[in-house]
Amino acid sequence: MESPIIDFSKLKHNFEKDLTSAMIPTIWCTGCSLGTNLQAIIRGANLAGYDFDHEMVLVSGIGCTGRASGYVNADGFHTTHGRAIPFASGVRIGNPDLEVIVFSGDGDLFSIGGNHFIHAARKCIDMTVICNNNSTYGLTGGQASPTSFIHTKTPTTIGQNTRPFDLVNLALGAGATYVARYTTAQNTSLPKVIAEAMRVDGFAFIDLVSGCPALYGRRNGYPTGEYMIQNFREASVFVDTSDPANLLPEQTAIEFDRTKGYTRIPVGVFRRPGEDQLKDALPIKGVVP
């Protein structure tokens, strides 16, 4: 059967005005979570009341997620690998009137860019960081990333992978002002969460658990996007974050089983800015008299 030819110039997208039409179609594979996630970010930015023309700057690093900045019709920059956060710091401190969003992958933000993440969180630089956490390096062919689970297969796995980062716990420990985790499956509530993170005066982080069926899923028993989303939906557990016991590392970590896929994904907002939070860590705004 011949595949139908799609004339993209005749298609219209719900968020046409917020997208760079010339760059569409995207490079992303069928079943990838990135399209849904990017839409959630656009919805979130609209909800937060961001002015796409004069106010918003979307910065991304390298990788599949890195291309996102080029698809959004706002100011943006596609930096070198792992450097989205330092670039965003330069923009935020350079012009405090701008609202900076970093959207990048787990390999970019936490492997090569890990140092920048913990320091930006510690320094409380005012930005929103959203990690498209699909546990793999998609653009280079699905190698193991810092969030790949121990018993999963990748082209760079010998025996088993090293243990993954719990991004929520890492962000809490590094002193992020706002910390949340959601999955692509919660795409209806996600825009509200993203908007809330964007309004935070300080370092806001969202661990957005996503699927890469084409490269990571295929090798680990969940070959389609539908399967992954269903898995996210079933495994997501909303955590009552008012109970400090639920913020312990054992409670925030994602659990993964080689045969069943994700078995427990604690989701929710793990930290909101309180007075204690901002007392010592005032958002950096350069040297102001």
């Binding site: 760079t20 010339a22 760059m23 023309d53 004069h54 106010e55 700057v57 910065v59 291309r67 900045s69 080029g70 019709n73 706002a74 100011d75 943006g76 920059f77 596609h78 930096t79 070198t80 450097r83 956060i85 330092p86 670039f87 965003a88 710091s89 330069g90 923009v91 935020r92 401190i93 350079g94 012009n95 405090p96 009137d97 701008l98 140092n115 920048h116 320091h119 320094k123 630089i125 950096i284 350069g286 040297v287 102001v288 008299p289």
Partner: protein
């Protein structure tokens, strides 16, 4: 956020001062209108950051400053800051400069104006943190992967540290390019008389639709140097480290890439004559021309002065812009004359000199973590003169 009121800061300390090279660099940056500094402490460049902080903490205006977690972050933040139309800079030394290479490539490819001061110390690796070297000449040209050409200025005195930093900002803004200033450990702490003028000529980068920039009386082509759309302005601003077209978006086609990197090269080579020109001293009647830059040139001048007293005719060619290399001027001056290259490296300056002169030249590659002693240069020159007489 509320808009900050603009008041005049005391940026230009007009008058005469006794200052070190690093302080002069910081003063030069302030005079040129620097608005953003991102840096990481490293000997011997740290006092640039310290002096700048001392000065800006008294400012009434907003100044973008951050001490980064490493040099990779500082250069990247400088690029980010520059995209908000702020004149931005950083300063570093050897190991930090190596870490910054990634960001330098990004800045060159995205045509981001910024100034990078590299206070050279002895290398490789941690090397000689508190002693001078001139081993980063090649790194400024070939350090980052890919083809790029970044104007590189080399001061040789405290006054030049000030002048060339101002010049570096003007060049970076006029040509939308990163600019390097290569100072060294000797200059960094050397105190000399610095005269800061009453007025400093400042160039601001082109604004889209507002016409081309004029630099040193010459209109800079808008085709070679496209105006920069910065963040938060009316026109959409986007760029990427991937090969990109004029909108800043990805375009990997052969024609586009070919045009892009050749234009970026040409915008520097076409305006080479507007960059600081080499200094020729006592070259008219000279039998031997010494080629040296930075603090090494100071030692050479002393050696030449002594030999001139003995009626030996020796002159000195001091490049003040090393990249693009002043090929034409060097060829004119050294025609039919012997050449001696003096530097604090096993051999870096000698590469462009021999390459552009198409012949072998004499060389002192001093690698003792100090300026080559004038006596050593004198001895070498005398040997060269003796060969002449034989």
């Amino acid at each position: 956020m509320e808009k900050l009121e603009t008041v005049n800061d005391d940026r230009l300390l007009s008058g005469k001062h006794l200052m070190s090279g690093n302080e002069a660099v910081a003063e030069g940056a302030l005079a040129a209108g620097v608005e953003g500094y991102f840096g990481y402490p490293i000997t011997p460049s740290t006092s640039i950051m310290e002096h700048l902080i001392k000065r800006i903490s008294k400012f009434k205006n907003y100044f973008s400053f951050l001490q980064s977690e490493d040099e990779i972050a500082s250069i990247t933040a400088v690029i980010g800051c520059s995209w908000t139309r702020k004149k931005s800079m950083t300063a570093t030394s050897g190991p930090g400069f190596s870490l910054m290479q990634e960001g330098i490539g990004l800045a060159a490819f995205t045509e981001t104006p910024l100034v990078l001061i590299n206070v050279m110390r002895g290398g490789p690796s941690t090397g000689l943190p508190t002693f001078p070297g001139q081993q980063e000449l090649m790194q400024t040209h070939f350090g980052s992967h890919g083809d790029y050409l970044i104007p590189t200025l080399v001061p040789g005195s405290v006054q030049e540290c000030f002048d060339f930093t101002v010049e570096a900002f003007n060049i970076s803004e006029a040509f939308r390019t990163p600019v390097f200033v290569l100072s060294d450990q000797v200059l960094s702490g050397l105190k000399e008389l610095l005269t800061i003028p009453e007025k400093v000529e400042i160039v601001d980068r082109a604004v889209p639709g507002k016409g081309p920039v004029t630099y040193k009386g010459e209109e800079i082509s808008e085709v070679l140097v496209p105006a920069m759309n910065c963040f938060g302005e009316d026109k959409k601003s986007f760029s990427t480290g991937l090969s990109h077209n004029e909108t800043g978006h990805v375009d990997l086609s052969a024609d586009n890439y070919d045009n892009l990197i050749n234009r970026q090269h040409q915008k520097i080579t076409q305006y080479e004559h507007l960059l600081p020109q080499p200094k020729l001293q006592q070259t008219d009647d000279a039998d031997i021309i010494v080629v040296a830059y930075g603090s090494t040139a100071r030692a050479c001048r002393l050696a030449i002065k002594r030999l001139r007293r003995e009626n030996h005719k020796i002159g000195i060619f001091t490049p003040t812009t090393v990249w693009p290399f002043p090929e034409k001027q060097l060829n004119e001056v050294t025609k039919g004359r012997k050449v001696l290259v003096v530097e604090m490296s096993i051999g870096q300056l000698i590469w462009p000199v021999e390459r552009y002169l198409h012949r072998k030249v004499e060389h002192i590659g001093h690698t003792r973590g100090q300026i080559p002693p004038p006596s050593l240069i004198e001895k070498k020159l005398k040997e060269m003169l003796k060969e002449d007489n034989n």
